[in-house]
Chain length 294, copies 2
């Protein structure tokens, strides 16, 4: 497979995800020319320059995309549409644009509206990776190794643009899948957005307990693991909730209904049923772990 290097790369939003992708592409020898970083925080751009993620920095997205053949938009979900609208008339003729947002239906609707005739060059993407850290200082080239990246092309997405972005994710070690945006949004609502809501809600509930400090003092390791995702960025999760609202509400309602059934089983003191539910869940999780490791 021939894999032409990127000539000029514009990275709009120089955080953990975008920064790590660029570092991985550099390590794979796939950045021939310059990487222009664009962001709002000068101190973060300075870090990105010092760490060799970007070669030059600007706070103006229109300047950043000039002459770029690849434009990576790695900003919070709510900012994708405005950024695309701002850069549309400044894009190079052959530019491929891609994003990394966690809710694809909304991003694609925003992108279609903002990019108009350039929308066919937009490849919606979502790397299933990341952690609770953020910023250019947290980026590292191995972040996407053995991780999944989902691309959700529209009917009008150019085949060559899709192929290009697929190659550039594969080059940093990711396993790339294509699916519809609707399907992506359902799957992510279940496996990522719902668990985040449950963890945030648990910490919120406990933090308003009357003897809160004591409650936290006796929390064990299981609690720490369980609530790790409640340390994620609040603004990012606000955006995800808004952007993937419909699918998230469906997942949340299904969960609330199952939890109400569990409540009834506990209330009834039905030990056999409780054990069956727990056993079923444990076995499902263990099968899932085996699947991940194989």
């Amino acid at each position: 497979m021939s894999m032409p290097a990127v000539r000029t790369l514009a990275l709009i939003g120089v955080g953990l995800i975008g920064g790590s992708w660029v570092l991985g592409l550099r390590e794979a020898g796939l950045v021939r020319g310059e990487v222009v970083g664009c962001g709002r925080s000068m101190s973060n751009l300075k870090t990105a320059l010092e760490r060799g993620i970007i070669d030059s920095a600007t706070t103006d997205p229109r300047v950043a995309v000039q002459g770029a053949d690849l434009v990576v938009v790695a900003v919070p979900l709510g900012a994708v549409g405005p950024v695309l609208g701002t850069i549309r008339d400044h894009l190079a003729g052959d530019a491929v644009i891609t994003d990394v947002g966690s809710a694809k239906g909304r991003v694609m609707a925003d992108a279609a509206e903002a990019l108009t005739h350039r929308y066919s060059r937009f490849v919606p993407g979502h790397p299933i990776a990341g952690n609770e850290k953020s910023g250019a200082g947290a980026a590292f080239p191995e972040l996407f190794r053995q991780r999944r990246v989902i691309l959700t092309p529209a009917e009008e997405t150019d085949a060559d643009a899709l192929e290009r972005v697929t190659q550039l994710w594969t080059a940093v070690g990711a396993s790339v899948t294509h699916m519809t945006a609707a399907h992506h949004d359902d799957v992510l609502a279940a496996t990522s957005h719902l668990p985040h809501m449950l963890a945030y809600s648990l910490v919120d509930t406990l933090s308003r307990w009357s003897d809160r400090d004591e409650v936290f003092a006796y929390a064990a390791g299981g609690f720490r693991d369980f609530t790790r995702i409640a340390s994620s960025d609040p603004g990012m999760w606000r955006d995800i909730c808004i952007a993937n609202r419909e699918a998230l509400l469906v997942a949340l309602e299904r969960y609330m209904s199952d939890l109400a059934a569990l409540h009834e089983t506990i209330q009834a003191g039905d030990g056999a049923r409780l054990e069956a539910v727990f056993r079923h869940a444990r076995d499902a999780r263990n099968r899932f772990l085996t699947m991940l490791e194989s």
Copy 2:
């Protein structure tokens, strides 16, 4: 503080918790005589003998406690009462009996009924430690270092018995607190029992999703952490739900009500409110981690 060694120790239920306590006591030089292990599985007792946790093995609790000055009952919650009833008339006159169960109100009611006139020698205990592993093969002497152990003495508990058990937990590195059983059960319902229900319920919900395999295939690291406790022993958790039903139902109802409020906020698309909830939860969790580390 003088710390007299244990003369003869009867360990009824030779698993992760009981086995680790004995290994810790041995390492601290606090076991002068023999440790008699009692269990239902000969293969687990054999492992405990080979690992030097116990010196002799029996499947009869009445035989195990003969001449023992310390009796550790480390069996599933539902079995504590029956075991105590079986051993009552075979205990040495000065024997101190203690347990490690996660729901103290129920254990104490069972113990009072089963031990009758020997109940004042019973010290209800709960080490906040453990992991998803179980059995004598998983035991290790450092399990309780820097972990909390809660003792919940009754009014009639002998002061010397309470002091003895406090010393023996302190000797293996634990930080020991005394509180009422009712308070213990409320705190543990919130920090341990509730999170386990939420994790079991999430895996259960997802395992009945229509495209289940795909859902699990795209689950990321956060999901793995979040559901780790759903790999815990189903029978143990059935017993905990039954034993701490009242406090668990209160915690679960409070959570369900908060989750319903979050659902409404998402439905209303109230971004400012969502961000405030997430920020509040993140900050509470971070304060909790700082507290744990200090």
